[in-house]
């Protein structure tokens, strides 16, 4: 019998712990051609900005070993376009929308959150802290615990009380636990990790950087161990805070790894570019992986890697 994937986080009741990572599912329409979006835990949307954005020049993507460098630059229709077209479409298909918000000032984040709260159908908010902070010479919010906390406080203060707020953390910090604590102290209901790592590739044919934006964010299976460690460390320090684990998830086994490290939900990102039906496949594989280990409910494995004593006594029966 396949394991029960239903996931409860706070008052959210999701049919599955598998989500799409922000910026990797298009508007949802592109993905829906290959995957039933209603059966996913949720669709984390592309980051929504107040105004439309044209993004960065191309080339925006470069393939690296088991990874992808990207610098899309938050191209999107802006909040109005999102509310008029993209959000209603997701709802019409029965998908749950975790709306990712992005801005350059804490006020922009606040305004986005308040206007999103006014429209029906936002299941949760994810705060993209990877954007450059206009007040700190373009340094991303996520690199500074105080700046990240200020943004989260602004979002939490503007969003409706019953919409959970997840803060998306960057691994590019000395102490990710400190940033996590600051976000939780500022009111984050959960955390999402990790965002991309900065990277660069140079084209040996043109002798120029492969991306028009020179450097980009590295994602994909190449960064999975970094993500697992981040989830592990934050989960160890803040065991009661729900975590969305994200970074190079390719198979049900990878998803299980994140769950064991302490994530209650797992987002699939770059791998969707490689396999647009990856989410459905990963859900099926996760069910099988759990069933093969005699686990009935996915919630039973969340954070299990931290509990060495329980593992030791039960290991024999699993094998």
């Amino acid at each position: 019998m396949p394991a029960d994937l239903r996931t409860r986080v706070g008052h959210l009741d999701l049919p599955s712990p598998i989500l799409t990572a922000s910026g990797c599912a298009g508007t949802g329409r592109e993905l829906a051609q290959f995957t039933d979006v209603a059966r996913l835990g949720a669709v984390i949307t592309k980051s929504v900005t107040l105004e439309p954005r044209a993004g960065n020049p191309s080339p925006r993507m470069a393939e690296t070993p088991s990874g992808l460098l990207s610098s899309v630059g938050l191209q999107g229709p802006g909040l109005d376009g999102f509310l008029q077209r993209d959000l209603p479409w997701l709802l019409s298909r029965g998908a749950r929308a975790f709306v990712s918000v992005a801005g350059h000032t804490t006020r922009e984040y606040g305004e986005l959150s308040s206007r999103l709260s006014d429209s029906a159908g936002v299941t949760a908010l994810e705060v993209n802290l990877g954007c450059p902070d206009a007040a700190a010479a373009g340094r991303p919010f996520a690199l500074d615990a105080a700046a990240a906390g200020a943004v989260v406080a602004s979002v939490r203060g503007s969003a409706r009380y019953d919409i959970p707020v997840f803060a998306k953390l960057s691994p590019e910090v000395t102490d990710i636990v400190a940033v996590a604590r600051a976000c939780v102290a500022a009111g984050a209901d959960g955390l999402s990790m990790i965002n991309t790592l900065p990277g660069m590739a140079i084209d040996p044919v043109t002798f120029r950087p492969a991306l028009a934006g020179l450097s980009g964010g590295l994602s994909g299976p190449a960064i999975r161990p970094i993500a697992v460690r981040a989830v592990w460390m934050v989960s160890e320090a803040l065991p009661d805070v729900p975590i969305i684990g994200c970074g190079g998830v390719r198979t049900g086994r990878d998803a299980l790894e994140f769950l064991l490290a302490g994530a209650s939900m797992v987002a699939v990102g770059t791998v969707l570019f490689h396999d647009p039906s990856a989410c459905s496949r990963i859900q099926r594989e996760l069910e099988e992986e759990l069933a093969a280990r005699g686990v009935d409910r996915v919630s039973d494995v969340v954070g299990r890697a931290h509990k060495t004593d329980v593992y030791a006594t039960e290991r024999r029966s699993w094998m």
């Binding site: 910026g23 990797c24 599912a25 298009g26 329409r29 592109e30 993905l31 051609q33 290959f34 105004e51 439309p52 954005r53 044209a54 993004g55 960065n56 020049p57 191309s58 080339p59 925006r60 993507m61 393939e63 070993p65 088991s66 990874g67 992808l68 990207s70 899309v72 191209q75 999107g76 229709p77 802006g78 109005d80 376009g81 008029q84 028009a212 994909g220 299976p221 390719r250 770059t270 791998v271 969707l272 570019f273 490689h274 396999d275 647009p276 039906s277």
Partner: protein, 313 residues
């Protein structure tokens, strides 16, 4: 998404396709894959996206290829043609009959076909030429005349010269080194060909630099161009990654960054801002110089650059 076929219900599929044949054609590799679901849905100009490197591949970007032709044998086969230059394409070229590939398709907006018989010029450069032959067959079925203008650096890079000569009303070939046909580029030959063939519409598949010149010249003659773009390179092919954008003017006069994979790869030539490909024009929707017009429905239709299928000629 006007003009996007997915709205019309012809959705792409993801299938496991068995390789039927792999053969060398001059500098190119031509591969045939059994994929009935793609073959039956295909229309000329559309492309497929293939995962390379096997199940645990470190190469995450799909390789995209314009479909050369589909055939009804084995339930439906899809043939595509490529240069085995980079590691992913080399991996594909090393596949053998009976290997199984993960293929997504058919993707993108096909070539619009003229409603009435027309004099059509099919212009292809290098690896851009293959998709023109399925189009030529469809045009011929509809009593349109087809003239070919093919170009490449050298003779071994000219794809389909023989087919063009056999099936086209006329075929002009130009190579940079003069090893086949005239010495020069297709752009040099274009004015003569346009006049001799009394061309009504140009279907072009070439590098952006050539498409820019072709569209500029066709504009002077008042001839519409349907241009199939192959740059910027696609990463997913399905519209998810937002990697393959280029600036296009919508029917409302607003420039948007549109995705070649879902809004193209075939675009009306006069709507692409060729000089600005690879940049974000200052006045594009959401660019630094863009100002929302009061009361205007900004960005109301992201894909409004492409029109209905019957507006070609």
């Amino acid at each position: 998404m006007a003009g996007n076929d997915r709205e019309g219900g012809v959705a792409p599929v993801q299938v496991r396709g068995t390789v039927l044949t792999v053969r060398r054609v001059d500098a190119y590799v031509a591969m045939t894959v059994v994929a009935p679901a793609i073959a039956t849905r295909f229309r000329p100009g559309q492309f497929i996206a293939i995962a390379v490197g096997g199940q645990q591949s470190g190469m995450l970007a799909r390789r995209t290829f314009s479909v050369h032709d589909v055939r009804p044998d084995h339930g439906g086969t899809v043939e595509f043609v490529f240069l085995p230059r980079e590691p992913g394409a080399q991996w594909l070229a090393d596949c053998r009959a009976r290997d199984v590939l993960d293929v997504v398709g058919p993707l993108g907006r096909p070539f619009p076909l003229p409603r009435d018989p027309a004099s059509c010029l099919l212009l292809g450069v290098g690896a851009g030429a293959p998709p023109l032959f399925a189009l030529a067959a469809r045009l011929t079925e509809r009593q349109s005349a087809t003239d070919f203008l093919l170009g490449a650096e050298s003779a071994d890079r000219v794809f389909g010269a023989l087919t063009a000569r056999r099936t086209g009303r006329s075929a002009v070939i130009a190579t940079a080194d003069g090893s086949l046909g005239a010495r020069g580029s297709v752009v040099d030959m274009l004015p003569t060909v346009l006049q001799q063939a009394r061309t009504d519409v140009i279907f072009a598949s070439a590098p952006v630099a050539v498409l820019r010149s072709v569209c500029a010249m066709a504009g002077r003659y008042g001839i519409p161009v349907q241009a199939l773009v192959s740059e910027p390179a696609m990463t997913c092919g399905t519209g998810l990654c937002m990697g393959c954008v280029l600036p296009a003017v919508g029917n409302d006069g607003i420039t948007r960054m549109v995705r070649a994979c879902v809004d193209g790869p075939v675009f009306r030539g006069d709507l692409i801002r060729w000089d600005d490909v690879g940049t974000i024009p200052f006045d594009a929707l959401g660019a630094p110089g863009w100002k929302p017009r009061p009361g205007a429905a900004n960005g109301a239709a992201d894909g409004a650059v492409t029109e209905g299928r019957s507006h070609a000629g």
